[in-house]
């Protein structure tokens, strides 16, 4: 655990900062994020409104601050859902083998055949516009990557000495799964998960931007940028700062994931 913290590097600091803002947005916000103020529409950044105001007079800085919680939590939820479900499938597939493995992996192949966001868009569109549906749509597509990763790792771990010994000593399947194999399979899952949170934040913001995820007046960063589109020529600050937020979050998780991967598998260092 400590090595995890030490190896996180700059990425970890960025995420820590964002996490603090996300957990306690009211500490950092200067105004209420949904507070409309028609007399201060589209004001440039100033002392009172650090990031300016939007077309309804809402303070951009406070909205960005509150958006941190929404975006980060959304990204985390996608990865949690996808990794939990995918890991379970991968474990079962790798341990039981045989027909179950073949069938499950074929399903994984089909889900992996869909281009990046396309199926998630379709699911989110047909479920109805909301952040929750976007998260579900993404998780329904993302699980396949974890399933394949875990299944392959399980297959390679199965041949290890300590596993065959455990079996010789009479360990049942469930015990095998949770006590012997899972702990060692976890490392690649952690690495992938940390990289994926950044991608998930990006994906939910993208879906929100198109109109499939969070809807205004929610201060989700993607939704804020899409709202800013109509006013972009008059108010450059409206899309800029939420964009910086997304950038920092994704950068932080990417760097963290990269560092973790270097720790786990230095050979893959680029």
């Amino acid at each position: 655990m400590l090595r995890f913290l030490r190896q996180g590097g700059i990425g970890l600091w960025i995420i820590a900062l964002l996490a603090i803002v996300a957990i306690a947005p009211d500490v950092f916000a200067t105004h209420a994020p949904l507070q409309i103020s028609p007399q201060s529409r589209l004001e440039a950044p100033s002392a009172e409104h650090i990031f300016g105001t939007d077309h309804l007079g809402r303070d951009t800085y406070s909205r960005v601050v509150h958006g941190a919680r929404i975006s980060l939590w959304a990204g985390l939820r996608v990865v949690l859902l996808a990794s939990l479900f995918g890991t379970l499938i991968g474990l079962v597939s790798g341990l039981y083998g045989g027909m179950m493995d073949r069938v499950l992996m074929r399903a994984v192949d089909v889900f992996l055949a869909f281009p990046y966001l396309i199926l998630a868009m379709g699911i989110a569109a047909l479920l109805g516009r909301s952040l929750e549906n976007a998260i579900i749509g993404l998780a329904l597509v993302w699980w396949a990557q974890y399933a394949r990763l875990v299944r392959n790792k399980v297959l390679s771990l199965r041949e290890m000495g300590y596993v065959t010994s455990a079996r010789a000593l009479g360990a049942g399947q469930a015990r095998m799964m949770f006590r012997h194999i899972l702990p060692n399979a976890l490392t690649p899952i952690f690495v992938k998960a940390s990289l994926d949170v950044g991608q998930a934040i990006l994906a939910t913001a993208s879906l929100s931007f198109i109109g499939l995820g969070a809807a205004p007046p929610s201060p989700e960063w993607g939704a804020m940028i899409t709202e800013a589109r109509s006013h972009i020529l008059d108010a450059w600050w409206l899309p800029t700062f939420p964009g910086v937020g997304i950038f920092l979050a994704v950068l932080g998780f990417n760097m963290l994931g990269d560092n973790l991967r270097d720790v786990v598998d230095p050979r893959s260092r680029s």
Partner: protein, 334 residues
Amino acid sequence: MLAYILRRLVFTVFIVFGVAVVVFLMADALPTDPAVAALGVGATQDMIDAMREDLGLDEPLPVRFAAYLGRLVRGDLGRSITTDRPVMVDLVERYPNTIELALLSMLFSIAVGVPLGVASAHRARTWVDSLLRGVAISAAALPIFWVALMLQLVFYGRLGWLPAGGRLSPGLEVAAVTGFTTLDALLTGNWHALNDVGRHLLLPVISLSGLTTATIMRMTRSSMLDVMREPYVDTARSKGLRERTILYKHVLRTAATPIVTVIGLRFGHLLAGAVITESIFSWPGVGDYAVKAMLRNDYFAITAFVMTMTLFYALINLLTDVSLVWLDPTIKYD
């Protein structure tokens, strides 16, 4: 090698069938009622019931699936609510634009990414390398839609150098030979239109290719560094070959395999990114069509979009795998 291609083809057919199943289940299981979607607001229950009968929506699942497959094979993708035309017609009209955008972006990424990657590998651990890697990591964290909007703001809003969006300036026409505007303009000698389309394509291509360029650059760099450690590179150098010859003729060719793999993988991201880019720049491709369809709950258009994009992506993957085997015949797959 032929056996491999055949096996890959069979696998692709199987995958496409699986995709059709998933798309069907997704569309079927989700709350949007195609009858309601087709009739729109203000439909009475009687109208809805009649439409449901028409579309065969109350039949048991296997019957519906068979009907769905039958329609797919015949190319009947349903009717779009937004355009009130068969979806197939809409897609045929719009796909060339998307393919054009995606292909140009991929070419751009390769043209910029590979040389930068080579330069980065050649000057590994110098400030040039660190700078390029820093740029690549940053590019990976920027949302496409944000980059696109910023570019639009700067180059259209502030500088007025480039158009805000669309395919051609009003009043300009290009004779449709292939469906690819740039190619058609070239083939018909319509230089004015070629220039115009180029100006309309510049920002979308740059926005779309950003991340892919960074990925290709990183992959080229790491792949070349791996190969450059091989003894035969030193041999070539001691033979007196020019550094550029060594880099491009010998090292790059061997390093190409992972790069081609990455290109294949990135195409899927490009397709998804095209959706966003087309929407921002009003580029009249499939992505723009899909975004409008998704906002209007255009059931048939959405499902057809998912299905066709995936098919296209599966084809790209097939081509990538085949070219990989052609590049490196020692590859074996199970």
